[in-house]
């Protein structure tokens, strides 16, 4: 049975997460308690809350980067509902490869690999031809204002803003049904920020489900369809 | 009990005691049963140093009988010191007839050559072997070479031939050229010139190889396939000469090159003295035509 387009593609229920620091005698730092959230295609949910409230932790739990202590994270993947909390690594990796894109604040630079190949890699992994992947990578780098003279250089030497845009291009080269954005415009100037906003909106309108942290209120207003308050466990009633 | 009465009286027939000969014969039987496989044996001290044919002598001593006719060659020649000594040794301790004629011999002990005259059924060729392990220069550990033989893991031998072509443009090995016996074991043919390798293949004679220092015996039974290793695009080839023997005119035998005076004048002679003399005899005698090849 094909998935119902109005049904959520990401469903978080009763998610909890603490960090236990063994170096400090097993001190437990609760960050998320009983978080529930559902996101449908075409929605862009902006996570808001004060600094340290756990927005970034939530996003990383959704991506499988942080391990959920309790609760459930279900995503629609290959026409099926897949549980990400406690999933085997290969399941999480397959979900990341096809379904779940993530734009972090920082690009994890791979030594010696040119920017164009960094961007093209996720598409190649999904079976795009070399020519096709490069064409899309060039298009995205162009839209994001990376000058062609930088395309064949490894991004290690790029400025923060340039690295961030390479990172965005890399996450947008595949049409992931679900996108997680952690401050995608943090180190960008006005002009480039507008370009990124436009790309995000295009994806959203094409049916991508988006969860993001947008520090910049103008950006948030431009992309978000809904706000989700993230409240630290101690502040809850 | 065999006759132990020898001219000297002090030695058993054929020098070795009967138990030792039995032990060596058992090793030989096993070697014949597993062509190309190196069988360890309890090598004895012989009245000559290692390197002078102690392995070959023990094999000959174990198989020789009064009815045999023995020929001994060293580098093809019957008249070198080593060949003469060994021939006289057996004439004395084993009471056997000796000959220099390849065709007349039943047992031929050899160092570094195979006679040019084709061997026949019933003849036994005994090789003196300095280093029996063909993989020794590539793999120093005996435990590992044994495993490689046991599992037929012979990639490393091919590697050495590859390396030779890479360095010299061709397989530069000219003697002790490795062979595959009966499609199973890689064997050192002893330091014979590769010219002689084709004579080992499906030979009607029995080939026995004795290594005295390393105490190994191996064998190639009559009519056993013996293939010289090579590459498809660098096939095994034997040496050829544009010169011919200065004495008998042979072009098809293995020739030794000699410098004969101070000006560097060179002369080519057959390495196999018996073959050369027979051909000289034929040339002087009645039918002047070249013998059939």
């Amino acid at each position: 049975m094909p998935p119902d387009p109005t049904q959520p593609v990401l469903r978080v229920s009763h998610l909890s997460k603490s960090f236990v620091v063994h170096a400090q005698g097993g001190l437990a730092l609760p960050v998320l308690r009983d978080v529930s959230l559902a996101v449908s295609p075409g929605e862009c949910v902006a996570l808001v809350g004060r600094s340290g409230a756990g927005k970034s932790t939530l996003l990383r739990c959704l991506y499988g980067n942080y391990r959920a202590d309790a609760g459930s994270i279900r995503v629609r993947h290959r026409n099926d509902n897949v549980e990400l909390a406690g999933a085997e690594p290969r399941v999480t990796l397959d979900v990341r490869r096809r379904t779940l894109g993530f734009v972090s604040q920082f690009l994890r630079v791979i030594p010696r690999v040119p920017a164009i190949d960094v961007v093209a890699e996720p598409a190649l992994r999904l079976g795009a031809t070399e020519t096709e992947a490069r064409r899309r990578a060039e298009f995205l780098l162009g839209v994001l204002g990376i000058p062609p003279r930088l395309w064949l250089l490894p991004p290690a030497t790029f400025s923060g803003g340039e690295q961030q845009r390479v990172n965005i291009a890399r996450s947008l080269i595949v049409d992931y049904p679900i996108l997680l954005l952690d401050e995608p415009t943090a180190s960008l100037d006005e002009g480039n920020r507008a370009g990124v906003v436009e790309l995000i909106n295009q994806r959203r309108d094409a049916g991508t489900a988006i969860v993001g942290i947008f520090h910049d209120a103008a950006v948030r207003d431009a992309v978000a369809t809904r706000i989700h308050d993230v409240v630290p466990p101690g502040a809850q009633p | 009990m065999p006759d132990t009465a020898i001219q000297d009286g002090a030695y058993n027939y054929a020098y070795l005691d009967e138990q030792t000969k039995r032990m060596i014969r058992r090793a030989i039987l096993k070697a014949v049963a597993v062509p190309g496989y190196q069988v360890p044996f309890g090598g004895r001290e012989m009245p000559l140093p290692y390197g002078w044919g102690t392995g070959g002598i023990q094999v000959t001593a174990a198989i020789i009988g009064r009815d045999d006719t023995l020929k001994v060659i060293d580098q093809g020649a019957d008249d070198t010191t080593n060949a003469v000594s060994i021939r006289r040794f057996f004439a004395r301790v084993a009471d056997v007839a000796t000959t220099t004629r390849t065709g007349d011999a039943t047992v031929i002990q050899t160092r570094h050559r195979v006679p040019e005259t084709p061997l026949k059924e019933g003849q036994i060729l005994v090789f003196q072997v300095p280093i029996p392990e063909p993989l020794r220069m590539l793999e120093p550990r005996e435990t590992e070479t044994r495993t490689l033989h046991a599992l037929s893991e012979y990639g490393v031998m091919q590697v050495s031939l590859y390396e030779s072509i890479a360095r010299h443009g061709r397989i530069a090995k000219t003697y002790n050229y490795p062979v595959l016996v009966n499609g199973r074991y890689i064997m050192s043919p002893s330091p014979i010139p590769k010219f002689d390798n084709p004579k080992l293949d499906r030979s009607p004679a029995l080939q026995l190889y004795g290594a005295g220092r390393e105490k190994r015996i191996y064998a190639v039974p009559p009519y056993t396939p013996v293939k010289s290793l090579d590459f498809d695009d660098h096939p095994f080839e034997i040496e050829t000469w544009s010169e011919s023997c200065a004495l008998c005119g042979s072009k098809e035998s293995f020739l030794d090159e000699m410098i004969v005076d101070d000006t560097g004048k060179r002369l080519f002679l057959c390495s196999d003295t018996d073959w050369c003399q027979e051909r000289q005899g034929e040339r002087e005698g009645a039918p002047p035509e070249v013998p059939a090849k």
Binding site: F19, V20, V21, H22, A23, R60, G64, N65, Y66, R67, E88, P89, R90, V91, T92, L93, D94, R108, I110, P111, R112, V113, R125 | T147, A150, L151, E153, Y154, G155, V156, Q158, V159, S160, Y162, E163, I165, A166, R167, D230, F231, D232, D233, H234
Partner: protein, 258 residues
């Protein structure tokens, strides 16, 4: 997710006298996965690798490999002949010290060509062509084909060792600290090369390293070993970014910031 694991390890234990080198280790390695084994020196990771690769016999447990040629095989119950055949056709093993994995006395071309010759390739020109191709793939100048590894730098030797292993198109490669003992810039090049080869050839691999940076770059999954036991395992970025076990937290906290 369908298919079956390439390698299934169960309850693997190896002792040296009274000392337990690795204890009750079990995991499944799936096709295309790169598994990292991390831990400090003496944690048992190299012993575990040697037991997995059939180089050492465990005291207990099993290693089942899904062989391309013969289906499921118990690595430690195979005859030595079949195990050795497996290790030089469907498997590779990259040693930390390239000198242990290479024949130092023969040329680079012969080193690469050995596996081909061992499985019956007998055309010199074709072996040489394949060796040349591989030299290029591991970024060694083609005119070094006839030079011996004794004349190579440490990084080149390691790349040559990689080529020597991959020439038979293995399915599974074991690597023991492949960049250990090399300069940082040389390391980066080898890591990048390995990353590309693993990706493009769809290799599965088990990689032992004490360098968490190497683990992050090359592996999909991690097992953290301490005192011969696996104390934590999971997705690489999750283990490194959200370590659960005290020992893993200590390891992660010990890295100098880049």
């Amino acid at each position: 997710m369908t298919g079956r694991p390439l390698l299934s390890v169960r309850e693997l234990t190896k002792r040296f006298g009274n000392r337990v080198a690795c204890c009750d280790v079990g995991f499944d390695l799936w096709p295309g996965e790169v598994l990292g084994i991390v831990g400090e020196s003496g944690s048992g990771k190299t012993t575990l690798l040697n037991c997995l690769a059939g180089r050492m016999t465990p005291d207990a447990g099993s290693v089942i490999y899904d062989s391309n040629a013969s289906g499921l095989v118990d690595v430690h119950r195979l005859s030595e002949a079949r195990r050795r055949l497996l290790t030089r056709t469907e498997w590779g093993f990259v040693n930390q010290d390239a000198r242990e994995g290479l024949r130092m006395g023969v040329s680079a071309g012969a080193n690469i060509g050995e596996r081909l010759m061992a499985i019956g390739e007998r055309h010199y020109g074709e072996i040489r062509q394949t060796a040349t191709d591989w030299l290029g793939r591991v970024e060694i100048e083609l005119d070094r084909l006839d030079d011996r590894p004794t004349d190579f730098s440490g990084g080149m030797r390691q790349r040559l060792q990689i080529a020597r292993n991959l020439v038979s198109n293995p399915w599974l490669v074991f690597m023991d600290e492949p960049t250990g003992g090399l300069d940082v810039s040389v390391q980066a090049r080898i890591l990048d090369l390995l990353r590309g080869l693993v990706e493009n050839l769809h290799l599965s691999a088990v990689l032992v390293t004490h360098d968490l940076g190497v683990a992050r770059l090359l592996t999909h999954r991690l097992m953290v070993m301490q005192g011969g036991r696996v104390v934590e395992d999971g997705l690489t970025d999750q283990v490194l970014d959200d370590p659960q076990h005290a020992y893993t937290q200590m390891l992660v906290a010990s890295i100098l910031p880049a």
